[in-house]
Symmetry: C2
């Protein structure tokens, strides 16, 4: 079974003096916004600072002054961003950041990053960068180019695990697995102590969890199938310190780390990355919106031959 | 400037008792065959055993009992294979092997590997494999599944260099560079002593060379531009022994090695791969047509940050 786990991601910061995204917008607005990219709301949790929607394809987090939306699969997230601009107005928007990764199956996507920002660029003047080599893992990041400066305290993190070990893939594709078992496997009750949790097990497999605590968010999305496995862990708490925990459980062949405004990225990765992973890519860029973006891809060197993957020619050839 | 260097490749072995591809087919046949995939013949060299056509997109080699065709860019090579089948007849064909790599810009291709073998599969019963992880460099190989066995002596090799060093990229994108300078830069007169050579410098840049000596072929195709550079070296002489030569000149960030029926792949790569390259992928498979295929991807670990690549939003967004 083929599923594109890699996400598109948008962050939009608004002028909270003009509008509060938490107080001034009805549920219908978010329902319509996620429908624009062909996703659906599955459930919602909230506290005083944040609403977290679990989506059929990933997550939407809303604070008073910003939103963060991640969507995977064959969604076209830029349409949701366009919906937000059309309904809220550019004059209330301070900063839009739009991000997209290399995909497992780029040819099966509805659009490319270039298509997306050509659309976005009709309304928003911006700059775009690629972090990572074209022939390897990489992230495209577009951001609005205006006078707005994000706070140095606006830190966020991504830890993406590719090609998780056979044992983890097998466990996470077990038929009838329930959310408690997955939480236990990932040791989430320990790692997310004090967070409100909201999770969902997809059929036949796949898992999503949103977690919030005050202003903090933490979300995991798992596409567990062997050969195209993808585990995305994203948060505004320091994920670099959790690298050893997750790598012990998932033992992926390859990992991406991405951080916004983590000024000790080098020190922390040196401290926390296990020595059996080798740094394949290392990119850093100060954006004009005041985000310092760091990107690293690590791999596990291979010393023995694997067998080639026999392909099912009668099956879903769009995945090839 | 954007150009997809990565090639599709087809090898077709025929029953030489029924037809000789060298003696029994007129030039028009090859002209029509390459036109089927939107390529053109630029020039030709020949000896008693082999004709080598330099194409606008790569190369075609023809022997009495087989052909090998490589095409890059936005060609659809499977249409040339189909043309061959339609005009020569499946009853004279002993073995078809069709191969395709991961691309820099998969979304900009006219078809995917799945599309290609769906077409091919209408006439040819076959098997297909993927060598390499989906999220990294990989090769798809389809081969006809019949009783035919290739000779253990049918050895061939690919050495693909990605992200060549700045110095090599700069040299090879120099305006007005002539073929003698490129041959000298690549030390080809020394490496290909005794071969008949036929090369072409593309505008604004890009280089192709075919070389033949008896039954032996050797071909290089260079897409030199920074960030999407791709140097493909393919031959039926042992390229593994030439690794140190080419890596010294090109110093790429990443290299793929692929071999057919090289039974000492491990020993030779251990002997010839410089120690500053780390093995990221290592795959091996015995195909039922008697090809032993080995695939390896090596990378240069990165220890210092590179700057992100600033993207030209006014330019060719189809490349993003």
């Amino acid at each position: 079974m083929f599923f594109e786990g890699s996400e598109k991601k948008a962050e939009i910061i608004i002028d909270a003096k003009q509008i509060s995204l938490l107080d001034d917008l009805a549920e219908d607005f978010w329902l319509a916004l996620v429908q624009c990219c062909n996703a659906q709301i599955l459930s919602m949790i909230e506290n005083d600072d944040c609403k977290a929607f679990l989506l059929s394809e990933s997550s939407l987090f809303v604070w008073h002054d910003r939103l963060l939306i991640l969507t995977c699969g064959n969604t076209r997230l830029v349409h949701s961003v366009q919906y937000f601009i059309d309904h809220i107005g550019l004059n209330k928007i301070q900063q839009i950041t739009y991000q997209r990764k290399n995909e497992y199956f780029a040819h099966a996507q509805l659009s490319s990053f270039g298509d997306d920002i050509a659309l976005l660029g009709q309304n928003v003047k911006g700059k775009a960068y690629r972090f990572g080599e074209l022939d390897g893992h990489h992230n495209y990041i577009f951001h609005q180019d205006n006078n707005f400066q994000v706070s140095a305290e606006d830190k966020s993190y991504e830890l993406i695990a590719y090609q998780i070990c056979q044992q983890a893939s097998k466990k996470l594709t077990t038929v009838g697995l329930i959310s408690e078992e997955i939480r236990q496997f990932l040791q989430l009750d320990r790692l997310l102590s004090g967070f409100i949790l909201d999770d969902f097990v997809f059929k036949p497999f796949g898992y999503s969890i949103n977690a919030i605590k005050g202003m903090h968010y933490f979300t995991i999305h798992i596409t567990p199938q062997a050969n195209s496995s993808y585990v995305s862990i994203q948060a505004n708490i320091n994920l670099l310190a959790l690298i050893p925990d997750f790598l012990t459980i998932l033992a992926p062949k390859s990992i991406d780390l991405l951080s916004f405004n983590e000024f000790e990225f080098s020190e922390l990765t040196t401290q926390y990355m296990p020595k059996n992973y080798i740094s394949k890519s290392l990119f850093q860029q100060q954006l004009s919106n005041n985000y310092l973006v760091c990107f690293a891809n690590y791999i596990q060197p291979q010393h023995t031959f694997s067998q080639a993957e026999a392909l099912d020619l009668k099956g879903k050839q769009h995945a090839l």
